[in-house]
Symmetry: C2
Subunit: 261 residues, 2 copies
Amino acid sequence: MKSKTPRRTARKSPEDSKVAISLHQRILTDIQDRILSGEWAPGHRIPFEHELMRQYGCSRMTVSKVLTQLAGAKMIERRRKAGSFVSRPHSQSAVLEIPDIKTEVAALGLPYRFEVIGRHKRSSRTSDRELLDTRASIPLLELTCCHFAGRQPFCFEERLINLLAVPEAAQETFGEVAPGAWLLGRVPWTIAEHKIRATAVETAAAEALQLRAGKPCLTIERRTWSADQPVTFVRLTYPGNLHELVASFAPPEPPSAKRRR
Amino acid sequence: MKSKTPRRTARKSPEDSKVAISLHQRILTDIQDRILSGEWAPGHRIPFEHELMRQYGCSRMTVSKVLTQLAGAKMIERRRKAGSFVSRPHSQSAVLEIPDIKTEVAALGLPYRFEVIGRHKRSSRTSDRELLDTRASIPLLELTCCHFAGRQPFCFEERLINLLAVPEAAQETFGEVAPGAWLLGRVPWTIAEHKIRATAVETAAAEALQLRAGKPCLTIERRTWSADQPVTFVRLTYPGNLHELVASFAPPEPPSAKRRR
DNA sequence: CAGTGGTCTAGACCACGTA
DNA sequence: ACGTGGTCTAGACCACTGT
């Protein structure tokens, strides 16, 4: 009267016949989707393991494994007694670890300041379609800014914001908070793609950065999606001599602790 | 007579009093260390789960969790019935996904070719110490190469190889296989750090790439360690108009399958 | 102190690939 | 056909932490 567990009969029932997906996966993607769509915003408390057990009719081990994986991916944070919470996206991309520009400048010990140079609403043109990964014509907010480290121009920013995804942006003047940081606090969780190039600086950027045209610059283009919807495209142009990207690569999670500092 | 498992008495025994590390972690780092040190080279079959169970005196779930994590990090590959095997490091860095240059050029549909421009042995100078992360003076092999896509120079390579870590390199002429690919096949598993910058191309690189000095170039510097020992430093210089780095960032493992193509 | 996550067990059934 | 990994269970004890 102890063994003979009926087991996964629920999953193997005729109705689910073609899913053929592990229970893991289903729970994982369920939670991920809710986080990525913004339904569970950063800070939101995820159901306790016991609740998820009941919801999915499975053992604690199963949900625990999923939550452990999500915690490993930094999508949630777990605190004993308190529960598990959706974490804030660690500014921009955990992969390239590009902090937001204010942090970046602060790390240099210099006072930070930014200026909005241009700001206007318009519809997307065909040339934008590729940048924002959209087919239809959509309302956009186009922004250009310059970020300063001390008195020196540090970074030139050209940005498109999809007003369908972030309608509040239309009212925002970005007087206090730079567009990047503003979006970070507003869009729940994102998927990003980066392109990095060396370019010769051109007119608008050259003027803002006070460089002679043709000087080498590091250009980072980032496209961002949330809930499968394009959110923003941004091109950051850094004077070549001022900026450096660092990316470390170590094997998996806790790689012998302090192998590389 | 069924429950009352003595359980982790082994771990809690007085001798292990201060380790306070989970069994997971111990198994994980044990295996990682063997892979990173080269003791288990790519292709090596890792002990079966049953063997590891006996070795560590634990349940299969525990070792399975570890192997699953290692597989998720692409450090091993698991095949039913066959076992789990150490995987080859996916060329360079899984993070930035920089393929080796030959692959990169092949992807453009152009014939690939490289030339060794300079090659000589010498001892490390103080200026090298930082690049190779070493304190003592060590024997080095210094290489400069140029990689071509079709008839056009594609990438200029400056490399230092630590001959203590890879003594065979001293005899290698790199006539057939480029240094990067040669090291990839020889050094078991690596930890790498990248720095990416936009620079104005200078003398040696400018000549090799047939560019006028001052033209913008993308510079990638990579430092590589294996078994906690510096292996190689390489600086790759790409003409700015020819090259683009792409890095995608999606949440954890299977992010809703086909979210982003 | 009560409840949460952290870890582990000793089984079990299944799918699949290799032989 | 057999043995491996893939997945899951129904417990258990512990450590930590917030109230």
